[in-house]
Symmetry: C2
Subunit: 174 residues, 2 copies
């Protein structure tokens, strides 16, 4: 993940590791944290793989500037094209870079994800009905309030994402 985010940020132009981290914090920081301990090794791997170039700036502060290569750009866009998946909020990370993606693929992926959300909503709704019935049979249903609440959370979550992605697809004013 660190590698893709780094590539994505460098897509904008030459950056130092330090700058990459700052940008990540200020933009996707809400759902993605990167530490120097993972960033710097990642940058070195990306250089070794030919996806970034490293330029030493001889300003005595040991600052290095990273730029993306054609290969790196391709690699990043391949990743960006892949279907959106909710795993570890990767879908939000991808969404942040979605301006770089062609409209056609973008729309296809957004709609596919939207369908999976609709699916989730349906599944949660039937589960809710079943659980509610089972709960009615119990004399002490108050003892399961929080246990059951996480199911409701799931439903709210899916609905929120669904509403949000509907806006994305229609490119509504946010």
């Amino acid at each position: 993940m660190v590698e893709y985010v780094s590539l994505g940020i460098v897509m904008e132009g030459q950056k130092s590791g330090y700058e990459i981290k700052k940008i990540a914090e200020q933009t996707v920081g809400l759902f993605f944290k990167m530490s120097y301990g993972s960033l710097y090794p990642a940058l070195n791997r990306l250089v070794a793989a030919g996806r970034l170039t490293e330029e030493e700036t001889n300003n005595s502060k040991n600052k290095k500037l990273y730029a993306i290569t054609e290969q790196g750009r391709g690699h990043f866009l391949e990743w960006l094209k892949e279907p959106l998946q909710s795993n570890r909020r990767e879908h939000l990370l991808k969404l942040f870079f979605y301006d770089y993606l062609e409209e056609e693929i973008r729309k296809r992926n957004l709609q596919a994800f939207q369908h999976s959300l609709q699916n989730g909503i349906s599944r949660m709704e039937s589960l809710k009905t079943i659980v509610s019935k089972e709960l009615e049979q119990l004399p002490n249903k108050d003892d399961y309030y929080y246990r059951v609440s996480v199911m409701h959370y799931g439903l709210q979550f899916f609905k929120m994402e669904h509403a949000f992605f509907t806006k994305m697809i229609d490119k509504e004013e946010l």
Copy 2:
């Protein structure tokens, strides 16, 4: 995390590793995955630490039943008492077990979390104003649609959680 979830599930009564995994999938599976590769070693660690007891059932299927000890119960409840944090959705995991927590601490923690959410909403709202103004200055603001969208996602997310936790605090019908 696996350790706490395992303890939490065994709080209900004796279970095998296999059962623990199944229960986890069916309940908190939406936001928490556990693999056997992490579960079985975790159970052995918990036994070694005296938090679970292991009972061999000689049913030739090599099934083992785990039960929680007093120490394990205490350890689990200590964890549960700690302030709710959004990190890796730990707050949802805790919420699932919140029926085990005393009302006083529960209410205090829920309210504290609620305040942090309110804080998040405020921060996102001011950020939104600033970014909107900056965006108006640009001729090509459409090129930043998705980049900016994740900020709106953050706001929606906080609002959804806020609404949900309001219900939790008031113990409203879900």
